[in-house]
């Protein structure tokens, strides 16, 4: 599966998951996820390739995804200031969703 297709599928699956499970915080979560995916596109493509080729383990991929979210939070700190950072509060939800979708998409094709 090529990375572009994988990323598109990831985005569409995330959208469905948010609608089904996080209706009450959907606008905020959707906004945060889009920011995250937009800022992380190139890295995500590279990590997906390394994960699908077996060079990164699931645990390593999770570590990297979390570090990327930390980086986005760091950038947010500079632009929005400390009190306005909300991304971190739903960090675990975001990572869980992304990881589950990636694993669901990649493991069967390995």
């Amino acid at each position: 599966m090529d990375n572009d297709k994988l990323l598109k599928e990831l985005q569409s699956k995330l959208k469905t998951l948010i609608t089904e499970n996080y209706e009450e915080i959907k606008p905020q979560l959707e906004k945060d996820l889009n920011t995250f995916l937009e800022k992380s596109k190139i890295k995500l493509e590279r990590w997906l390739f390394l994960f699908s080729s077996g060079d990164l383990t699931e645990e390593e991929l999770e570590w990297l995804l979390k570090s990327q979210l930390d980086l986005v939070s760091l950038q947010g700190l500079q632009t929005a200031g400390i009190s306005k950072i909300k991304l971190n509060t739903i960090k675990n939800n975001i990572i869980k969703i992304i990881l589950n979708v990636i694993i669901g998409l990649i493991i069967p094709t390995r």
């Binding site: 890295k43 590279r46 990590w47 390394l50 060079d55 990164l56 383990t57 390593e60 570590w63 990297l64 979390k66 570090s67 990327q68 979210l69 930390d70 980086l71 939070s73 760091l74 950038q75 700190l77 500079q78 200031g81 400390i82």
Partner: protein
């Protein structure tokens, strides 16, 4: 004499404006020491992280020394007025429960060695975080200059 008094008054007004402006932006001024130390620490961290395909025990002493250096700088940043953002950024970088520098060393210690692919990717992440800190310090310099230019052009 009157001309001199007028000049002195104008100078005092500018200085008081400058102080008001600096405190109202609530951002610490650019600090050459912070910039230099952060850059040095980044270089040392990069060098040390590159060794993570070899056993952690061989580098434990260097990691401890680097973390001590960082601890001193974080303490310095903590006590600077209006410096909450830089301090918060350092806290993230040195939090073992996050996924940046301290967490990298924690993982290296736990796993003993790290895989080459993970090492390369995680190192980039940590270095990106350092770059954000360094760029933020530089921005403070620009903010200080802009504030001064605003005053001069008023």
């Amino acid at each position: 004499m009157n001309h001199l008094k007028l000049k002195l008054t104008a100078f005092l007004i500018i200085i008081s404006f400058l102080f008001t402006s600096c405190s109202s932006t609530k951002t610490a001024l650019y600090d050459q020491y912070s910039y230099q130390k952060t850059t040095e620490i980044k270089v040392e961290a990069e060098k040390l992280m590159s060794e993570a395909t070899s056993p952690y025990v061989l580098h434990q002493k260097e990691v401890t020394m680097l973390l001590l250096e960082i601890e001193k700088l974080v303490e310095y940043e903590k006590n600077k007025p209006n410096n909450e953002i830089t301090f918060a950024m350092w806290k993230m970088l040195t939090d073992k429960e996050k996924n940046l520098l301290a967490a990298f060393f924690k993982r290296w210690e736990t796993k003993e060695t790290l895989s080459p692919a993970f090492l390369e990717e995680s190192k980039k992440q940590v270095l990106d975080a350092f770059d954000l800190l360094i760029q933020y310090e530089i921005k403070k310099d620009k903010k200080s200059k802009d504030a001064l230019l605003d005053l001069i052009n008023q």
